[in-house]
Amino acid sequence: METLEIKGELTIFNVAGHKEKLLAALRANAALELNLAGVDEIDTAGLQLLILLKREASLTSKKLSFAMHSKPVLDLLELANLTTAFGDQLVLPQTEE
């Protein structure tokens, strides 16, 4: 299984570039894991891209999983109520106190 890492932000400002790259990676591999640990900012456009990738994977019968969701990603997935729909294993962050 191929692992790709997304670093920095996943927002309207760079989704176009990410889309090309991630879509190509998904098409080139039967199974792909996206490591989201390094995503420090995500907006709805970023989320939309993740949804698209998930859909594309299920349409083409590929295995796509997101892993190591960073805090901003978790928050947004939670807000959009997609955590369970994405069906990825989540590591819930410890309370930092």
Partner: protein, 741 residues
Amino acid sequence: MSFDEEMKNALKTFTLESLELLQDMEEHLLNLEDDEAPAERINAIFRAAHTIKGSSGVFGLTHIVAFTHVVESVLDELRGGRIGVGSELVAALLPCCDHITLLVRNVVDGRTEEDAALTAEGKQLLDELNAFTQAAPADKAVTEFKCPREQLQKLENDSVKDGNWHLSLRFGADSFRDGMDPLSFVSYLRTLGDIVQLVTICQALPPADEMDPETCYLGFEIELKSSAGKAEIEGVFEFVRESSIIRILPYGSGIGEFIELIDELPENLSYLGEILVAAGAITRHELDDALHHQQNKMQTAREQGNAEAEAAVPALGEILVKYQAVSEPVLNAALEKQKQVKEKKNQEAQSIRVDAERLDKLIDLIGELVIAGAGVNLRSRLFADEGLKEMTGETMRLIEEVRDGALQLRMVPIGTTFSRFQRVVRDVSKELGKGIDLIVTGGDTEVDKSVVEKIGDPLMHLVRNAMDHGIETADVRLACGKPARGSLTLKAYHSSGSIVIEVSDDGGGLNRERILAKAVERGLIQAHDVLSDHEVYALIFEPGFSTAQTVSNLSGRGVGMDVVKRNVTALRGNIEVDSRLGAGTTMRIHLPLTLAIIDGFLVGVGKATFVIPLDRVIECVALPEDAGEREYMDLRGEVLPLVWLSQVFDVESHQQRRHNVVVVEHAGNKAGFVVDRLQGEFQTVIKPLGKLFTYIKGVAGSTILGDGKVALIVDVPTLFEFCERANRHAEHALPAPSHAS
């Protein structure tokens, strides 16, 4: 917190952030032309404008949005490479940047309404700006597409039937591009009430290849439990209302209204129906009725839609069961949500704004702690108690760390002050018709915030002065064999416990003869006085002194340089001038790193105790027996001028046997202070002297020792001046009167 207060707070954050963004924007704009690869900068500028526009929209500041929108479109053109970077464009964009700043500042002052005069001004700016662009072709066609039903993104729910409102949101295709982040609206809804159910609708997503990631295809179905009225909820979406479908229905609306809703929304109707049932907006019975109703209607109109709907209805029950089965999700999302909101806030708070006053209070207290600690330490030495000594030693170490940490809090890079000058240089050079480049080095040198704040104005004087008087016009420069464009350098670096800021130009330099002539004319010196270059140059800091032949708008009225000197001295700093005729001038400002606390070196002269700033001290040596009362000594082959503190401060020295010399450095020169006793290091809080003593030379302040006595802090730079003058007078054997500089 009431809604109003919350909005007020949010607005405050908005203005603060916007002003920061505008500052960045200005900086990037100024550097745009010189950048080899400006893409990154253009992006940053665009982002700034975009963010400001988006946030102003949220607050309903439509006049800011309207103005920024035009700026942003131009920037977008720039970003797309359809128009090129040029100084005219930058010149047109900078005033726009200023204008937005003005608008935001008005908001800070509480004027959120549009101001007709400003709008007219803005209009003019925009007209200039619009000259750079032609209308960009719009390609906004969004492909209609149906998603496979597996993609139904849904779920989690605890028996939620009491949402007061049902919200159907379909955001406009351009939402992202307009700087709207749909989920931030949803997020904001949470401040109005509880989101008990939310379904993300992504049916409109076209196939991967056709999907434009910058277009918004998403929608949300939300059950909101809130006491807010419809108008209030609608207000949240005020800014996207035009481009998006926003439907807000109270819970318990008749089925007819929901059918209407279903009709309006672009998705497959049975799919929507499922969501509504799941969300608790309508019952299954109502949905079945509705679908039946729809079927009848469609029979005639759409054969295909009918078939699909028919296929969907029987599946409905199954789906609902499935939903219920999932309703105890592995993840207790609801509880998590609360926790995560809190954590998100923590994360956002990685840097916090602190009231400067509180910080000052803290530093003040730590200052007192340092004094008290030093007292304890001194006391403990009186007892032969090893344990006590050890403990006070440890306490002192901790206090030192706390002190350093607290002072660090106040340190800010001087670069922010420097970057202001980019704009000044640009504007002034334009005004003067001279081509001047600003070179900044050492911008990340850290300085105490209070120093940074106070050094801005003196620097401004120096920079303007250098541009006005220092740098010649292009013709003169070319005639002298210099490049036509002048350059001005701002430089900061640390040097032996102080920060040095240099303002240098490559202009004509100071004219020694002219300054002398002027000084004599003003009666500052006598015609036969012999002065070193440094002293001559120092004359320009005398009040009312200007050698400029023409008085310009900017400088030359002789007001300024003395103010500069006064400001710098007030910061316990000093300023010196280096100049070579025809080659340029360098103004060098030495400032202490911090104003509050220093590490001192205690010395005793007679009964008095003095503190010499430790960072000036290089070493201590014994005064050779045969030195007598001489004013210099041999320090390993070097001539070291001596300053007898007992003479300078007129203290009776009791020491008969031998004296000690503290070797001190300042601005590259060394001197030896002759004292009676060396008493070691001491942390000192500087207490300013009273007004009465303001004009006393050689003393920078006072401090309180552990035993309650007062010690004076020696002002090294002025003693150096004293020493230099004394030496020269000795050399020339001239009984010249001394002039305070």
